[in-house]
Amino acid sequence: MNRKAAWIDPISPWILPLLALIAWEACARAGWLSARILPAPWAVVHAAWELAQSGQMWDDVKVSAARAFGGFAIGGGIGFALALATGCSTRLEAVLDSSVQMVRNIPVLATIPLVILWFGIGEPAKLFLVALGVFFPIYVNTFHGIRSVDAALVEMARSYGVHGFRLYREVVLPGALPSILVGVRFALGLMWVTLIVAETISAQSGIGYMTMNAREFLQTDVVIVGILLYALLGKLADVVARLAEAWLLPWRSPHRAARGSAFSRVFKGLRANKAFNRQATWRGAKA
C-alpha cells in the first residue's frame, strides 16, 4: 500500500486535469464541440504560439503588467504610509481610521461608473481602480501588524535604550512584517481582478483589450489564451510574494539553514499550503 502511494503521490494532483484535457481534445476532434464554444486545447496552444511569434502578446502583457504594478505601487505605497501613521499614533488613528474603514466597505468595482465620469476611459482610470483595490488590504494588514507587535518586546527594547526611529526599524517594523506580507499577497490577488475588469471595460492595449478584441471576431481560442495569461500572471505574482516571504522572514522557519533549501521549500509549499500556514507564530516562542 505504502509502496504504491510513493509513486502515485507526486502525480496524483495532475491526473484529473490531464484526463479533462484529453477528453476535451477528443470531443473537439470528434466534432462534438464547436470551435466557437470551446476550441481544442491544441488550437489554444497554437493561437498562443502565433500571438507570441508576432510579438503582439508580449506587448499586451507588458502594458498590462505596467498598469498592474504601477497601480500596486501607488495604492500600496499610500496604504502603507497611512497605516504607518495611524499605527504609530493613536491621535491619527482616531482621525483617520474610522473613515478608512467606512470607505473600505464600498466594493471597488462599484465605483467604476464614477471613475469613468472622473477620469474618462484612459490610463488614469485603470491605475486608479487598481490602486484603490490594492490600498485596503495593504492598509488593513500593515495597521494590524503594527498594533499586534508584542508590547513586552517594545518595553524591553526601550529599557535597553532603543528609541525613536531605531525602535521602529529594529522592533516595530520587523514585528509587523509577517502581517504586512499577508497584505501584499491579498493585494496582488485583488490587483489582477481589478485590472481585468478595468481592461475589459475599455482599452486600446493590454491583455483585456486582446481578449475583448478577439471576442468581436469570434476568436474563442485567443480569448482562452487571454484568460490563461491572467491566471499565469496571478500565479507568478503569488510565487514571487512567497519567495519574498521566505527571504524576508528567515527566522520564521528556523530549522531550515541554507537559503538554497528555502527556495525549494517554497515551491513545495505552493502545494502544501496548509503546512506552510500551520507554522507556530513567533509569539509562541515565549514558552
Binding site: A152, L153, E155, M156, A157, S159, Y160, G161, V162, H163, E170, V171, P174, G175, L177, L249, P250, W251, P254, H255, W282, A285, K286, A287
Partner: protein
Amino acid sequence: MSGATKEAAVELRSISKRYGDRVVLDRFDLSIEAGAFISIIGRSGCGKSTLLRLVAGLDSPDAGTILPRRASETRGATARTRLMFQDARLLPWKNVLGNVLLGLASSERDAARAALSEVGLAGRERDWPARLSGGQRQRVALARALVHRPALLLLDEPFGALDALTRLEMHRLVERLWRMHRFTALLVTHDVHEAVSLSDRVVLVEGGSIALDERIALPRPRSGAAADVAEIEAHILQRMLSPVEEHAFVG
C-alpha cells in the same frame, strides 16, 4: 541595617504605588548596598515585581523617591541599569549576536561576542532565537544585559520557567559572573531556596511592606544541600507560612 559603610546603589524612600484602588506598595523603604546580591521574595501579588519595575524605571511611583534619580539616565547607552525578564524577550527576527547588540553600535561586535562566550554560547552567534532552548535563551538575555556593563542588574524571576537542572546551572553562571564583574544584583523570585543560595541578603515582602530582612553570610559557592542553607531556608519558609506567631522572633 548593618551595610552603612557601603555606598547605596539604590535607595527607595517612602515609595507608594497603587493600581486603581489596590495599594501595591505602601510607604516602602529599602536601601541596597553597592555590589551586593539581594533577593526579594514573597507570594504572588505581594508587590515584588512592581518594586523591580519601579527601580528599572518602567513604572513611576505615586509617591516617594528612588535614588539615584534616573530621569536623565534611562535614555541612551549610558544607562547603567539592565533588566532580565522572566521570559527572555529576545527579538525573534534578530540572530543571537543581533539580540546581544540591541541598542549598541555594530562596532561593539567584539564585546558582544565576548559576552556570549562568557555565558557559554560562543559559536551560536548566527542562530535564530527560535532554535534555542529556554535556558539558552536566558543565557542570551544575560549576555545582552552584561554587554552594557551594568552597575545594577535587575532579575525578574528569570529562572522561573526553566527546568530544575538548567535552573541550577543558571544560578552558578549568574553567581560566577556577579563575582567577576561586581555589579549590584537585585533578584525577584518566589523561590526561597534560590534566594538563600544566591544572595547576601533576603528581603521578604508582604502586603506592600518588608516583613523580614535577613542577611546571609554563608561562604560561596553554596551547596544547595548544605545544612546551613537548609536551615535558613526553613526559617524563612516558616515565617512566610505563619506570619503572625513568628513575627516576634524576627529582628
